[in-house]
């Protein structure tokens, strides 16, 4: 039981716990905070997997940008626990059950596979920004360019939808 494994388990527990927090907490703001914590835990996992750059990006983009956006919107609508609409416990139970069933089914299916793949502990350098940059701009330049189209349409969308029509 070496340090990495201990770290793995800690991060796993944290991730799942916080994820549950996201789903269960009645106050939207808490949900956001939990989600950010989940992201931190996931970034921790990235570090364990030698995906250092990914970890950083995850913190910056998700926790930093996206979640702040969420938080901002929630604040703007000043939603809080008492404004939060609650589903009846029955519906919630149904949700839990069906989600759980999904989980169990997939696990049952996949556990039949004898996956030989093992995460070897010695560090590799694929996650380094240098390598990633070369791969990205050598092999994946097309998707990189295409994502610009995606952002363009997203931008248009934000404008078209978000802008108040004065009429």
């Amino acid at each position: 039981m070496d340090i990495l494994q201990i770290l793995f388990w800690l991060l796993t527990i944290m991730a799942i716990g916080c994820a549950l927090g996201v789903v269960l907490s009645r106050n939207p703001v808490n949900s956001v905070i939990f989600l950010i914590l989940t992201f931190f835990a996931i970034s921790g996992h990235y570090l364990l997997l030698n995906a250092q750059f990914l970890a950083i990006v995850n913190i910056i983009v998700y926790a930093g940008a996206i979640m702040v956006l969420f938080l901002f919107v929630i604040m703007l609508m000043n939603l809080n626990a008492d404004t939060e609409p609650q589903k009846s416990w029955l519906v919630q139970l149904a949700g839990v059950v069906s989600g759980g069933t999904l989980f169990l089914v997939i696990i049952a299916a996949i556990s039949r596979a004898n996956l030989l793949g093992v995460i070897n502990t010695e560090s590799s350098n694929i996650g380094l920004i240098k390598v990633l940059g070369q791969v990205l701009f050598k092999h994946y330049v097309l998707p990189f360019e295409l994502s610009s189209v995606l952002f363009l349409s997203a931008m248009i969308g934000a404008i078209v939808i978000g802008k108040k029509d004065m009429e």
């Binding site: 949700g95 069906s98 999904l102 089914v105």
Partner: protein, 628 residues
Amino acid sequence: MIQLAYLIPLFPLLGFLVNGLGWKSMPKQAAGFLASLMMLVSFGLSLGVFFEVKGGAADTIIPLFNFIQAGKLLIPFAFKIDALSSLFLLIITGVGFLIHVYSTSYMHDDEGVVKYFAYLNLFVFSMLLLVMGANYLIMFIGWEGVGLCSYLLIGFWFKNRDYTNAAKKAFVMNRIGDLGFLVGMMLVLYHFSTLSYNELFAQVSNNQAVMSGGTYTWIAICFFIGAMGKSAQLPLYTWLPDAMAGPTPVSALIHAATMVTAGIYMIARSSAIYNHSEAALHFIAIIGLLTALLAASIAIRQYDIKKVLAYSTVSQLGFMFLAIGCGAYTTAVFHVMTHAFFKALLFLGSGSVIHAMGGEQDIRSMGGLGKKMRITQATFFIGCVAIAGIPPFAGFFSKDEILAAAYAHNPVLYYAALAAALMTAFYMFRLYFLTFTGKFRGTHEQEHHLHESPIAMTFPLMVLALLAAISGFVGLPEVFSEHHALNEFLSTAVTNGVHHHLEHSTEYMLMGLSVTLVVAMILFAYAKTKKPDFQPNTGLAKVLENKWYVDELYNAVIVNPLLQFSSFLDRIIERKGIDGGVNGVGKLVRWGADRMRLLQNGQVGAYLFTMVIGIVLIFVIGLFCVTI
């Protein structure tokens, strides 16, 4: 001459076409004259043909064209002239001509007279087809044709619903028989793959070994069912009395002299087949006898002059079939001939009576007519004597021959037939006495109106009376003469069944017995009708007056159940069952649609939830149920 035989049916057809197409413009007298002329011509031709045949001309086939030729099936439209057909030609055209002449005067004041003569000619045409055809299909064509004409003529006064009902009844009952005929033809085709008489009978005489007796029996029975319908035998006889709805000459021509004897003709024609089947012959004998008895018994208690004659016709037909059943086809044909004469005579006489009575047909309001209409009385009397079987009138010889044959076949048959014959004598003379003797029981204006019919009506009566008197001599029994003229004439065409020879003494005895009893019956009838009293009948008499309630029985057992069943089919099975099922599918779809709509309840949560359920299901199916 024989080669011109195809002209015989042609002239009536011509008459039909002219009168039929000109049914609006044709003047009445012209129509009657034309029709009678046509009949006269074809009668002349038939005479020529007859004597040529009598002169020993061989059987002739006159092919006209190929009617149906499809694959193996080849049916030519051809005529066959031999002794049998030539004899029938004579009867049909001869009696037909007389009745045409009679009609010209009898129908002169009916507005549909042109139509009437058209129908009459058409009937003669079909009847001639029936007897001249060289194969069963042509016979069938004539067979159905005469059925059609009888339908049209029974329903001639179509405004009266009862008359049209009678017509419909006649046609439908004939159809039942025709089905038997059709099946018979099918069987013949199936086993011999031909319908023409010559080929068929040739095969029959050759390959008896091949065909089992059963086959012949079936064919024979089927044909006889056809005959039952056409010749009004049990159980299909009830249409004939109703058929009296038609004009009286029609009853004389169609329902006494010619059409109803078609059955006899068919069986005589097919004698070769019937000789192969004892069973069928027995069956025919039984049916014929029963019919004779039943009809005669009913005739005893009828008051409608035409009904009496109708039932007597049925009973006489029964006699003929009895003869056939005993294998004596020529005897049957003999009786057909004599019966044609005296029954036509009787009908026409009754027609003249009805004419005089101004449409009255109930003998209870007649009586003493003899004083006013001598000729009618005289001829009618001859008719009665002939049918009753008093020598030397025609009826005696033919009927006596039948009785003899019956006795030879089986004494029981003889006694039963004799009983029927006695009843015949009784009811005929009852009719005669009630009509012509005693004092008049009708209203006064009827009495004033009473008169002898014009010559156009009485002339045929006299001719027929003459024939009824003398025509018996063509068939003198061998006790009197060495050779039986008719038998010998027909022997080329018809082969009688096994004929048990009778001792002359026996034959004398039988004749004596029947004659004495008949005379006794006549006297009895005279006694009964001396002081006629018409109390409502009771007991057996009532049953007889109501014709043994046979019509009621048929309605209760066959007609009404059928109607109820079909209305059940219509209301329940068709509308509720099948159509309901079809519509039910549509309803089901709409119902399902209504339910399915509710799934789309507009809740994102619900949608996601259903989706996840679906996903789970897909995984379960895809991962655990599908075996790769």
